[in-house]
Symmetry: C2
Subunit: 211 residues, 2 copies
């Protein structure tokens, strides 16, 4: 095995253990020492791979974000979907793996607020550019008239994520948030209501969220 392969394998092992600890105990309550113990390595070894616990968290988040990016690219290439369908499928897709489901639930815990904020940041940086391509497709086929696709979707994702987060905390019904979000999408992207009706988009969104 080459040095690079060994490095990658050990790094993956640390990330897997850290992910398990973050999702079971929460990020704030997981110490670097707990990670060392779980992986069975010395402090020096850990710091050869990562500079801090925060860097491990970032790497764990980036693995999930990469997964989302691959899903978005596959949806982007699906010629049978409208631009609006593509966006809704991506934005409201449910986590595919059990680990990711647990992780997302954990993000709503009080002691994971930093991890949640960082996840949103990475989504806006890494995933929004592909959403912007979907919007450009919608601009071209007359579904939308978005003047600045990337900025529009970044603002939308920031608002949608934050509103859904708050609804999770407050325990208010998801339906009210959905109405707000549908309105925001239609206004921000200047949706052509003859091609996509609010009623239909609301139905699709609810179907995705409750799936």
């Amino acid at each position: 095995m080459s040095n690079t392969q060994e490095f990658d394998l050990k790094r993956k092992e640390i990330l897997d253990c850290a992910e398990t600890l973050f999702t079971s105990k929460g990020y704030e309550d997981t110490t670097v020492n707990a990670i060392l113990k779980e992986v069975g390595i010395a402090k020096g070894t850990f710091y050869y791979y990562f500079q801090s616990k925060e860097e491990v968290m970032d790497a764990v988040i980036m693995r999930f974000i990469d997964e989302d990016l691959q899903i978005a690219k596959t949806i982007m290439d699906n010629q049978t979907l409208s631009a609006m369908d593509k966006l809704l499928q991506c934005i409201f897709s449910k986590p595919k793996t059990d680990n990711k489901k647990v992780m997302i639930e954990q993000l709503y815990e009080a002691n994971n607020a930093l991890m949640k904020q960082r996840t949103l940041q990475r989504t806006i940086e890494v995933i929004c550019p592909i959403y912007a391509q979907m919007i450009e497709e919608g601009n071209a086929n007359g579904e939308f008239t978005s003047k600045q696709p990337l900025e529009d979707i970044q603002f939308l994702i920031a608002g949608i994520q934050t509103l859904f987060d708050l609804s999770h905390i407050k325990g208010s019904t998801i339906e009210i948030q959905i109405e707000s979000v549908v309105n925001a999408i239609f206004q921000m992207l200047v949706v052509n209501e003859q091609k996509n009706s609010k009623t239909k988009v609301t139905e699709i969104m609810i179907k995705h969220i409750k799936a």
Copy 2:
């Protein structure tokens, strides 16, 4: 002094001390014991006033939110301002007291992510209804055509706050965020560009932010 006055005074004392500790050490790193020590009270006394550290945090946040609410009400009553001016003055107002300045700076620290999230939640619940009144005024005088003022402003505040938070973390230039935010305001509120130009609104916003 009546029992109520005594209760209120002691409660205020605990909040003042907690606020100082939160803004100097951070919320996560402030223990209930540290608050007890600072105020000079026993654990039982503390729990007579508050159920948890989180409840103290909520009360500290609510004092700042109440301040913002009073400022918003005063601006609302100023007959010389347009609806857009009122909104910009409120949303981009600078903190008036030193304590609040320090608190807002502290909110961007990693160990205060929960406090920041809660501040946004309270803003959306408590302050947005008065912003919605400003938008209704703008609808009436032809500045805006917002179909659902409360939902529109809640979405806008969620998006604006989150984007500015992320810009703070990433260290990207504030100017790019401002362009995004101006576009979002114009699209969400369907701003009449003959009454409020994007250039003018951008200038006013920059003036407020840099003031």
